[in-house]
Structures are given as C-alpha cells and as structure tokens.
Symmetry: C2
Subunit: 186 residues, 2 copies
C-alpha cells in the first residue's frame, strides 16, 4: 500500500483553517466573533428560535439561510412536545462541536474517517427546577459522551484525536466552565 497515493479527504479544508489561523494571528481583532439567536414565545413552553446573523472578521456576517428551531417541553411535563427541550439543544451543541472537531483534527493529522457517531447522555434531577430541594442544581449533574469512530487509524490515534477535539471545543469549554450571563429587559 502506497500511503502517498491515498488522499485523505474528510471534507475539511484544513489549508483554509491554517490560513485563517495565520491571518488572525496577525489581526487578532478579526478573531472577535459575536454569535446570536432570537427566540419568540409561541404558547405555553413552546418557543421558536431563529439563527442567522453573526459578527466576525470585523464585519456583520450571515448564514446562507435563516435556521429555525422549535423548543418545548415533552408531554410528561403537561406540554405539547412541539420540539426538543432546551437542555437537549445544549446536548446537540456539545455533540456536534466535538464531532466537527474530530473531523478537523483527523484531516490535519492525515487520518481518513469512515464514520463518527457521538452518543450523549446527561443526568438531571428535576427536584432542582421544580424547587423541591434547594440543594439540587437546576442543570445537569453530569454528561457522558461515547464516541464510536471507524477510521483508518490505531486505537491510540483515535483516542488522541478525541482528546484534541475536546481541547479545542468551544461547547466543551462552555459546558465544563462557567460563563457570565447578563439578562436585561428592554
């Protein structure tokens, strides 16, 4: 097998990312991004959020289309289950961030991926949000992510890939570390 004849292609443009790193090292102001979401209440616990504009590279930017997300509580909470719960959106963010990271790091390391699946599960004791027990936190008591990766690499290389994805993941950082949230009323 001639390794040089096999072109690794995970669909990640690593050259562009390395170019961006170089460009942003020279112009750190351009690295300051602002991400946004806008949420409108529909009825009950059902809301509709949209995502389109963001700020970065020193200018207003926009996704190609506006993305729309319905959120609700499930029927066991006497709601209408019109969408995933808000906490499940956080899990989608975490799983997709780590998965994108695995693809990008694999491309950079010349590892061809065949399939990547991340299963995420988070425990939550409702005694927190229901105000039953003040010692129980409102959020998750922990999150477990299990990766199932089929790639042209050793077990050790796959483990290193996942570890590097964690180290570079925005959502992993957001979930594992505190972030200040300021809430205002217009």
């Amino acid at each position: 097998m001639n390794a040089t004849a096999i072109k690794v292609d995970n669909g990640v443009n690593v050259e562009a990312l390395l170019g961006a790193r170089q460009a942003l090292t020279e112009a750190p102001e351009a690295a300051r991004f602002k991400w946004r979401a806008s949420c409108s209440w529909v009825r009950g616990t059902h809301s509709r959020s949209t995502v389109q504009s963001f700020f970065g590279l020193g200018a207003e930017q926009a996704h190609k289309t506006e993305f729309t997300y319905e959120a609700d509580h499930p029927e066991v909470f006497a709601a209408e289950d019109q969408g995933a719960t808000p906490v499940e959106y956080v899990l989608v963010g975490l799983a997709s961030c780590l998965t994108a990271g695995v693809a990008a790091v694999a491309q950079n390391r010349g590892i061809q991926l065949r399939s990547v699946k991340a299963s995420v599960e988070a425990g939550m004791d409702l005694q927190g949000i229901l105000g039953i027990d003040a010692d129980v936190r409102n959020g998750f008591d922990g999150i477990k992510v299990v990766f199932d990766i089929d790639a042209d690499a050793s077990k050790e290389d796959i483990a290193a890939l996942v570890a590097q994805s964690q180290r570079r993941s925005a959502v992993f950082d957001i979930v594992t570390n505190p972030t200040n949230v300021a809430v205002e009323i217009k």
Copy 2:
C-alpha cells in the same frame, strides 16, 4: 374591569406542574431524568443530530417524533454552512429555556403574556479554538440576553418574572456553572 372575569391563559398547565412537584416530592427517584442526543458525522464539520428518547418518571420515555438538527460551520470558516454552529445551538437552548420559564412563572402568578422575545448575543474570541493564544478560552467570553415582553403587568412584575425564570432555568445553570463531561470511546 372585573379581574376575576379575566382568565389568564399562557398555555401552561400550572396545575399539572404543581401536581408533578407534589408527586415528585413524595417519590424523588422519579425526578431523576436522563436527556440524550445522538450525533452522526456527515462530512467536514457537518453533522446530523437526533433527539427522541429520554428517561424519567422511572421509565423510558420518548418525544412524539424524532427531532433532527444539522450543525455545521459557516462559509467564513471554509465550511458549507449546512446548519447552525454548535455554539449557536447552546444559545437556542438558553433563550428557549428562559422563555419557557417566563411563560410558566407568568401563568403561576396570573400574568397574561401577549408577546415575549429574547435576543441573545455571545462574544467569542477565535484565538482560543484556533490555538493562537492559550490564555483565550475556547468558549464564550460572556452572554447577553435582552427580553422584550408585552404583558398585562407592571415593569416591576415583569422584572420579577424574568428573575424567577433565571433562578429556575436548567440551561442558565448549565451555562453559568461548571458541569463535568466524561468522554469515552466505544
């Protein structure tokens, strides 16, 4: 105006929620939930996550339908922009959690809502995830939520409503406090 003749209806079944609080106070084991998401890599930084099953009230549960979410990076990151970025999913979770809380608390306090809009913006310095500066965190450097609420209530009551929503919000807690994430490889 006869206040008793006006029935406040925000579409939240507060009686059911208060009943659940009573029931879960007596059977705290039933309050232990597990929320899940499953993410499959598509190509590049594009992934597809699904949300359907969860565990709670002592048994396996499921949403009425399977919800599917595409995540990707935008074109300015040399990606194909097939969905919101993972960090934007976190903002959707935060905005929808606080908004559902406003509706539930308003119902409990007899406040009729006419409209609720939450605009969320989060700063992020890409020098973190790009590995340019080790002192810059990967995640958000802060989040600002601005509520615009039209309701049958005073400014003070609306402020109290939003404050109580924050105190009971699962995603507000997840974002503002650290949560342990264990990552394994199958």
